[in-house]
């Protein structure tokens, strides 16, 4: 729904030689292709789980394009680059046609990863395409995980969340037990639903985390690597915290309170996870500075 509007910017910024005009047909083409795609993504995937993650990724992408607007003006095309670009666009178009018609969302959405760099190769050349790598590679976060893969990831993730929550509360002295992914807290029976696995928040946080590391552009590779490695554990801990809160709310406040809190707590989870990530980044910076001054 938003792909096109973003690329308008370079046009506006490069008016002198009229090269901006070439973006208009491209924007029209991208809108024809992906407007329906994003509408379907919204109804099939994003709407199912609070909708937040997908929108976040699209918003970030728009910002990335805006941030890279200067690079969209440099044109240095090469014959080989153009040839590869056209091949990428044609291949992407074929994958799109197959994916869209047969509802293979991964092909349909994934075709962006061929078509977008293909377009920059053809219109701007290899140098700009390389410079813009993060902008088009970031689109990988819009590709939804296939249902079967989600199911096989969800099983261990839900099991882990249920076990962690039960252990924590059991040691805190609550009368709690579990059968697989069903938690019994006092008189209540709580299901760890798919959404409680935290998988969607995990994808959104991975996108934000990767972006953060890219933008912060730390000199030390170790720093970036540690931050990236922390994404999954941080997101998982935040999720365990969320489910624990919900179980406690239900146990002490009753079923109605637990349900009421359900949606709010998932926003708090993103905040907690991102906050911890931020704190970790600063701790790492402080540690590196400390080590440097000690040396």
């Amino acid at each position: 729904m938003t792909l096109g509007t973003t690329i308008v910017l370079p046009g506006r910024l490069a008016p002198a030689r009229g090269s901006g005009a070439m973006w208009w047909p491209v924007i029209a083409g991208l809108l024809v292709l992906y407007l329906p795609t994003y509408r379907d993504l919204d109804t099939v995937y994003w709407a199912r789980e609070n909708g937040a993650p997908g929108i976040v990724v699209v918003a970030i992408w728009l910002w990335l394009v805006w941030r890279a607007r200067a690079d969209l003006r440099t044109q240095r095309r090469t014959p080989i680059g153009s040839a590869i670009g056209w091949i990428a666009i044609v291949t992407g178009a074929a994958l799109y046609a197959l994916g869209r018609s047969q509802q293979l969302f991964q092909l349909e959405v994934g075709s962006q990863l061929l078509i977008v760099p293909g377009i920059t190769l053809v219109l701007l050349g290899p140098a700009a395409t390389r410079k813009l790598w993060f902008v088009w590679a970031f689109l990988v976060f819009t590709v939804p995980l296939p249902g079967s893969l989600i199911d096989s990831l969800l099983v261990p993730l839900k099991e882990f969340v249920a076990a962690a929550v039960t252990d924590v509360l059991f040691f805190a002295g609550l009368p709690i037990a579990r059968d697989g992914v069903v938690i019994y807290a006092g008189p209540y029976q709580l299901f760890i639903a798919d959404a409680c696995s935290g998988l969607n928040q995990l994808v959104a946080l991975a996108a934000i985390g990767v972006l953060y590391v890219h933008v912060a552009a730390h000199q030390a590779r170790v720093h970036s690597a540690l931050l990236l490695a922390a994404i999954v554990p941080v997101a998982t801990m935040a999720n365990v915290l969320r489910v624990t809160t919900l179980v406690l709310a239900t146990y002490f406040g009753g079923d109605a309170l637990g349900r009421q809190l359900h949606d709010y707590v998932s926003y708090a989870e993103i905040a907690v996870a991102f906050g911890s990530f931020f704190v970790l980044d600063h701790a790492l910076t402080a540690w590196r500075r400390h080590r440097r001054s000690a040396a």
């Binding site: 009229g18 090269s19 005009a21 070439m22 973006w23 208009w24 047909p25 491209v26 029209a28 083409g29 991208l30 024809v32 292709l33 099939v44 044109q75 666009i89 044609v90 992407g92 178009a93 074929a94 799109y96 046609a97 197959l98 869209r100 018609s101 047969q102 509802q103 293979l104 969302f105 078509i115 377009i119 053809v122 219109l123 296939p146 249902g147 079967s148 199911d151 099983v155 839900k158 579990r178 059968d179 697989g180 992914v181 069903v182 299901f191 639903a193 798919d194 959404a195 349900r259």
Partner: protein, 236 residues
């Protein structure tokens, strides 16, 4: 017109061609559109079996159980039927059917493994078992042993997609894809029979009982309904 603009137009032409081919390739036939209600298709009495009120709550047909069980099921399927049958000799079998008019890659029948798991059961697979429905027809089924702290339940199921029985996730996807290229959106039906067992050692006996139940049911149905349950034998 600058060369850049011409290139932009060429990109537009390719992208428009992609959108047009996608529209051409989109399957439009939906054979499942005029299916009658399951309640009308499956008799309450046949042979020595008769439906009776459920003795235990059946495991729901969806993995994600929301606050309202009925609502979670009707959000996923076009029609659902759950019944408990009792045979003259006292043996009981629970049957659960879930029907979806349109099966697509992302919206399709939930496999019982996940539904039982999500509802607190430990699920172990007992392999693929052919069910002899009559002298001419046998279908490949999956057998499961499911246990939680309150009960042990043995399950036989198969999933029909279009004209085929496909129990494996990739097989289901492949069937939907092939039908799609033929211009069809297949319908889908889960046939699940289950019974309670004292312990896991009794599993084989329950499977025999379930196969007898399914064969008795199949034999009592008109051929159109037989095909609705088990599809046609088609080789790929």
């Amino acid at each position: 017109m600058t060369a850049g603009f011409v290139r932009g137009l060429a990109v537009l032409a390719l992208l428009a061609a992609a959108a047009y081919s996608a529209a051409l390739l989109t399957p439009r036939q939906e054979p499942g559109r005029d299916t009658p209600r399951l309640v009308a298709l499956i008799p309450e009495r046949f042979g020595s079996w008769a439906a009776e009120p459920a003795e235990v709550l059946p495991v729901l047909l969806v993995p994600d159980v929301l606050a309202d069980a009925e609502a979670s099921q009707s959000a996923s399927y076009d029609d659902v039927l759950m019944r408990t049958y009792r045979r003259a000799d006292g043996a009981r079998v629970m049957v659960a059917l879930a029907y979806g008019r349109r099966q697509t890659q992302e919206i399709k029948i939930h496999r019982p493994e996940l539904c039982y798991y999500a509802q607190g059961f430990v699920v172990s697979g007992l392999g693929s078992r052919p069910v002899q429905l009559d002298s001419a027809r046998s279908v490949e089924s999956r057998a499961l042993l499911t246990e939680n702290r309150a009960r042990t339940e043995v399950v036989t199921y198969w999933i029909r997609v279009g004209e085929r029985v496909a129990n494996d996730a990739w097989d289901i996807r492949w069937t939907i894809f092939r039908d799609g290229l033929d211009g069809q959106v297949p319908d889908g039906l889960l046939v699940r029979a289950s019974s309670l067992s004292e312990n896991s050692a009794g599993a084989e006996r329950e499977l025999v009982l379930q196969h007898e139940f399914l064969a008795d049911l199949y034999g009592a149905l008109p051929s159109a309904t037989q095909r609705f349950l088990a599809g046609r034998e088609v080789t790929l």
